[in-house]
């Protein structure tokens, strides 16, 4: 199988794994586990961008991070343990789903404060640029944030600093049309995000966030630009939050025609159809893939549920260095 096809295949499988993982979380929530912010429908953004990064790069993300983490190689079992508040989670259960970081993977400083990711990312990029700590030459930072975060003032401050200091920072706005229970068109003009970014004078690209190949191509271009110039770039990925803001959420406030239209353009379905059209996969192949990810998730669930609770005597560990 040529490299290009292997990559396309791998993208599909990773998207399936993210989806299966999040569907499992949805089920867990129904039986009493804490709710989560799923990224169902946005898998192409995570997979396309993360694949364009190197091991030396860092990722800063937010509350809707499962895709970024899994695309980066995070183990579903340790993620799930974290969501369930167990010791084997990436953060020993202290984070829960909302601020999972996995330093070993270069996924650092996740914040569930909308805008928190944008406030810290320039500092991570500055450290990369200055060769601090365990950074490697040429390393960049990708910061994932939502259309809602683009409304926060810190968006403006982060862009200006990154431009002015020429930081190796890739801004990735996953414009999923929603900001919790508010449609983004209630909060900004239609083309606002790219227009705002352009006002800062850095390279801005807007692509279909449901087309994993398009996302990847754009991300690869942006990453190349950053490595070549040392300065920042901006990517707006148009996508859609297919499920509610946080589980459970009846989505009563969602326009069903809009939702339906986007479901037609589901990123996994699109990628499946593309591979099928190219003759790279058939129904049986797809079913096998799905089975594989489902097994991974089932094993992960067993692991997470078997993982111990932290004990109360560890309550004050890690508050201070």
């Amino acid at each position: 199988m040529p490299e290009e096809n292997r990559a396309a295949f791998h993208r599909l499988e990773t998207m399936l794994l993210i989806r299966a993982y999040e569907h499992q979380l949805v089920e867990l929530q129904r039986t009493g586990a804490p709710g989560t912010c799923t990224s169902v429908g946005q898998e192409a953004c995570a997979v396309g961008v993360v694949e364009a990064l190197d091991a030396r790069d860092r990722i800063v993300t937010n509350h809707r991070s499962a895709g970024h983490l899994i695309a980066r190689g995070a183990e579903p079992r340790r993620l799930m343990a974290e969501v369930l508040g167990r010791v084997d989670g990436y953060c020993g259960g202290r984070s829960g789903s909302l601020h999972i970081s996995a330093k070993e993977l270069g996924v650092v400083l996740t914040s569930t404060i909308v805008g928190g990711e944008l406030s810290m990312a320039p500092g991570v990029a500055l450290a990369q640029k200055m060769g601090a700590g365990n950074s490697e030459p040429g390393g960049i930072v990708a910061v994932f944030f939502g259309d809602g975060a683009a409304c926060e003032g810190i968006f403006h401050e982060a862009l200006n600093l990154a431009v002015q200091w020429q930081l190796p920072l890739l801004f990735v706005c996953e414009n999923n049309q929603w900001q919790a229970f508010v449609h983004r068109l209630e909060t900004m003009p239609d083309k606002a995000i790219s227009a705002w970014a352009r006002g800062h004078g850095l390279p801005v690209d807007s692509v279909d966030g449901n087309d994993v190949d398009a996302v990847h191509a754009a991300a690869a271009r942006a990453v190349a630009h950053i490595r070549a110039t040392g300065g920042p770039a901006f990517l707006e990925l148009s996508t859609y939050r297919q499920r509610g803001h946080y589980e459970p959420d009846d989505q009563a406030y969602v326009d069903s025609a809009e939702l339906q239209a986007w479901l037609q353009r589901d990123p996994i379905r699109m990628q499946g159809e593309r591979l099928t059209a190219k003759g790279l996969i058939d129904a049986a192949g797809l079913a096998a893939l799905e089975l594989r990810v489902r097994e991974t998730i089932a094993t992960a669930l067993d692991f997470a549920q078997a993982s111990a609770w932290p004990t109360p005597d560890t309550l004050l560990e890690h508050v201070y260095a």
Binding site: P34, G85, R86, G92, G93, R94, S95, G96, S97, L98, H99, S111, T112, I113, V114, G115, G116, G148, A149, C151, E152, G153, Q179, A180, F181, V182, E186, T187, M188, Y253, W309, P310, T311, P312, D313, T314, L315, L316, V319
Partner: protein
């Protein structure tokens, strides 16, 4: 007889908003999702007065400040208390100070709402009881009720108040039910605590979720022959010093219980008040059972370990009463030092 309706805290808040919006056309409601979540208010009062905002707490709060000084009475929903970190300049530097710095030219009748507290396993960036920060800041009032009727009555009082009021909802109480007066003129005055249970041996003070903790401890103490008085602060600023000090002067023992960190928290303020103004009445050390100086963890076990529990209050009070009675019997002027209780300060929950 007051007509009452049984409802949850969430419903009581909604009723207060509805009544005040009906009563006063200058009241408006703004927040991320305020209109989405309260379509009925949009229907009744119009989209101009019930507004979804961009996701930008600083401008939501700043806009409330500007509007309040210009004849409106904004109520803003900032969702979770830690998000107020973005609204700090508007709340602390503008709303709290510009009345004074302008020599009284402006007033800021606004209410800023935020949820917080343990129970949802959301971790410390959502669950952070930072009400004391606003108590420390000048020019603001702060309330944090414990039962549906007070949520209604205090929110109405806050909306009518000409000062900026921070209104905190302990999210563990959101679906708690209680009887709420129907009357549209039902107001709970800001600055008045409620004595939830009378008793002469020890004063237990809590607010929000810890009022129930104190009440449970008080029931258990009864079995030990100890009569606890339980005070629900309701208002954190202004504090009802008279009610607290009056009780301490009667019981001689003060135990303050809250989820927020103890350091420079409300319990510190009350302990200081007692040590200054009710000193001669004190028969025993003042105890604080508070959350630790740590962010809230998500994991249920750790979240709960950080929260003061009735058992810890019970144990603390039993020790306290035994200690001070022993000392008094021995003719000593005061109870033994309470270093042994130090851990309560930081680790109230662990003892449970």
């Amino acid at each position: 007889m007051t007509k009452m309706t049984r409802m949850t805290v969430e419903q009581a808040i909604h009723q207060a908003l509805r009544e005040e919006m009906r009563r006063d056309s200058s009241v408006l409601l703004m927040g991320e999702g305020s209109a989405t979540k309260q379509r009925d208010l949009v229907a009744d009062f119009g989209a101009e007065r019930v507004r979804n905002t961009p996701l930008a707490e600083a401008i939501v709060a700043g806009t409330a400040v500007g509007a309040a000084a210009s004849g409106l009475r904004p109520v803003i929903d900032l969702l979770f208390a830690p998000f107020m970190a973005y609204a700090m300049d508007a709340l602390v530097n503008s709303a709290g100070k510009l009345r004074y710095l302008s020599g009284g030219q402006f007033q800021f009748p606004l209410v800023a709402m935020g949820m917080t507290g343990s129970g949802w396993c959301v971790g410390g960036q959502h669950n952070h009881n930072l009400e004391a920060m606003f108590v420390h800041a000048p020019g603001l009032k702060v309330v944090m009720p414990s039962e549906p009727a007070d949520f209604k009555g205090l929110l109405k009082a806050a909306i009518r108040d000409d000062n900026p009021v921070l209104f905190f909802t302990d999210l563990g109480l959101l679906y708690q039910e209680g009887e709420v007066p129907d009357a549209e003129d039902f107001i709970v005055p800001i600055g008045k605590a409620a004595v939830r249970r009378a008793g002469g041996d020890v004063t237990l003070v809590g607010y929000a979720k810890t009022v129930a903790v104190c009440m449970q401890a008080a029931s258990q103490l009864e079995a030990h022959g100890i009569a606890a008085e339980v005070i629900d602060l309701r208002s954190l600023k202004p504090l009802d010093e008279d009610t607290v000090l009056g009780s301490v002067r009667k019981t001689g023992r003060l135990v303050v219980v809250h989820e927020a960190s103890g350091l420079c928290g409300i319990a510190a303020e009350l302990a200081a008040l007692a040590a200054t103004k009710a000193f001669s009445a004190l028969r025993a050390p003042v105890l604080r059972l508070t959350g630790p100086d740590a962010p809230a963890a998500s994991s249920w076990v750790l979240e709960q370990a950080a929260v003061p529990k009735p058992e810890a209050v019970l144990e603390a009070v039993l020790d306290l009463v035994a200690g001070s009675r022993r000392d008094e019997a021995a003719g000593k002027s005061r109870a033994h030092d309470q270093d042994s209780r130090a851990h309560h300060d930081q680790l109230a929950g662990l003892a449970a």
